[in-house]
Amino acid sequence: MAHAHSVKRHTGLMDWLTTVDHKKIAILYLLAGGLFFGFGGVEALLIRLQLIKPMNDLVSAQTFNELITMHGTTMIFLGVMPVIFALMNAVIPLQIGARDVAFPFVNALGFWTFLFGGILLNLSWIMGGAPDAGWTAYTPLSTSTYSTTHGVDFYTVGLQIAGLGTLIGGINFLATIITMRAPGMSFMRMPMFTWTSFITSAMILFAFPAITVGLVLLSFDRILGANFFEVSNGGNPVLWQHIFWIFGHPEVYILILPAFGVISEVIPTFARKRLFGYSSMVFATILIAFLGFMVWAHHMFTTGLGPIANALFSIATMLIAVPTGIKIFNWLFTMWGGQIRFTSANLFAIGFVPTFVMGGVTGVMLASAPADYQFHDTYFVVAHFHYVIVGGLVFGLFAGLHYWWPKMFGRVLNETIGKWTFWFFAIGFHLTFFVQHFLGLMGMQRRIFTYLPNQDFDTLNLVSTVGAFLMAVGVLLFLFNCFMTAAKPKGVANDPWEDGRTLEWAIPSPPPEYNFKQIPLVRGLDAYWKEKMAGNKEMTPAEPLGSIHMPSPTILPFVMSVGIFIAGLGLMFSSEKFNNSFMSMIFNNWIVVIIGLVITFGSMLLRSLFDDHGWHIEPEELEEEGVKA
């Protein structure tokens, strides 16, 4: 028997600050994501209110630009990414039959850096103005010559920190899926959600460093006076567009692939049928990821890259339709011949399919460069990407949340409210964004803070605003549902949907902190379903009951992130002129940056010097728990 190390176990707030348990980190991600999603949502409503009628003056032009910038940035980086990570954390170790992720410490670090990056970005609202150059921050508009507040500094530094968190989260999941799978779970037996998360993590690994560099270049221009985008000194603004979109286009696939995975889990469960064409789904996912890196310049057709580049990027972009089409038909034929149950989770999953197809077909239309000369930067584009990101990704996330909520929290969300959520959200969504296609075609360009009357824009904009509020009602219903459900007692079965197919449904809801008392033996795709069909109630264990090694909780990831946060603030204000001599002293001499870095690297040093031996849960304890349950 391995010797047990004593370990300090925390309770209350300290438990959450020091946790390295992937299930708790999932909940943290969900809370943070929900918070930022709320910010982004309020910003969206303000945008729609401003555009409700022509020549409206609810917000000023400058504020409007700050709103659109923060809405886009928040939703992409801080709203949906963490909810994706919440689902990945909550589900993937369970789906692959693992007790934990490969790097529990790094997992916690990823969350805290993400959170502090997000907080930093949002502090801009109360610290002198939010970024105002659009979420794409095109230079030269985003350089210090044209954007004179610290807004864009908050953008570069905040995203840098949040992006770092995402990157290390991605590495963690790649390693987890490669090394931590239970015996018998070959790659081609992995559940689809695990597969798409795996590919998404790989894309994060190869896409995020590009934006890291982009943000470094932009902040060097702004803070150190470098000349990357400064035309008069030889810089090149188009370079920013390339770097941004080399990251930015894979990013949208990073977002949508996990949603594909969710749909591929929810539909088979509620159709009581295995996923149709599993191997072609895997192949299509990989192909989409690969092509996703080859198409960035389709965001730049009007930049003037020349006909050869435009033609190549047009064709490459259109090709993505093929693997995506494969997925759509596979989902439809999964339901074909099945026994479909219309639970809230499945409503969102089913609603996803046609909605996403609509976003997909406009995507192919946009891929045709000469047509894109007209579509580009109009409301047609706004409609398109909201169809894929809201109609696709957010529908997928709602489906996933309703589906895995009992596994995460031990309580099923109220089905009636869930269905109301769906209908409000779906109808509101189509009302908001369907009309925007036409607004774009009729000549309304995007990112305008208001518009003249008599352009036939008025009615459609009003409709769009009304739709946005219906969506807001849907979201509020969901929140209400969460709170109401939280008040109910725990205690759902291992497999509350009764047709669960994958390993997470073989263990209690919520799972104990070690997940699996004994690592299961996987005998095929849909491992749990296979055992059920063979008449077994439980998975066959792959190991005898033994002592379980657990990583120790630690506050270091939190402290490291605080250090990065302080260093980021210090960097931003390093050349600021303060009225207060003390502030000038500590900021202008880089003392704040140094303090922050010392905290971060000091924590790293501590982590390296003092080995984490972890602690053990002994078989006797496991038995006891078994008796209690």
């Binding site: 490969a102 690994l205 896409a207 460093p209 000349n227 030889g234 090149n236």
Partner: protein, 208 residues
Amino acid sequence: MTSAHAESVNGSLPHEPEKATLEGRNKVLGFWLFLGGESVLFGTLFATFLALRNQTNDGPTAHELFSLPTTAAATLILLVSSLTSVFAVQAMHRHKAAALRLWLIITVILGLGFLGLEVYEFHEYVTAEKFGMTTSAFSSAFYTLVGFHGAHVAFGVCWIGILIGQLYKKGLTVVTAPKVYVSAMYWHFIDVVWVFIFSVVYLLGKVG
């Protein structure tokens, strides 16, 4: 998972102690992945440099600026340090803790030598040639790319330095071995990046 500490206590190290435990294997794999991301990072920096390397704006050009003997010396130092870190890992595989520490110390010294040369080079550029971060797009791209690499070297020197200390204190175990191995991977990586910098920045700047 359970065997991690038992073996270090027994003192019987396997041939490749860095891969003896799941934690160790995870660390090596995770680090490979990290280096994949680092490659994209440097790739983007190289692309930026290539796009801007002729935008010298009235400031010094690459041809006027660079002195190949200095950078060749720096290259040689870094290449040799890569070799010494190979020797270190070999010593580790033979479980020779003293030789391991010695080779690591030599690696760190060579790394410091490289950094010294780089600091000297930058200092010359800024003071003698009036070639600073803000001079031109070329200068910004140069300092960012080469500076990023230099920062990586500096981090590596600190990291390996701390590892040497740990080796003295804790000895060679299945916990310290993966750290040594991973730091060697890192060191090779920044060495490879330097080879690219030497060719793309310095040689191309002198010739092209």
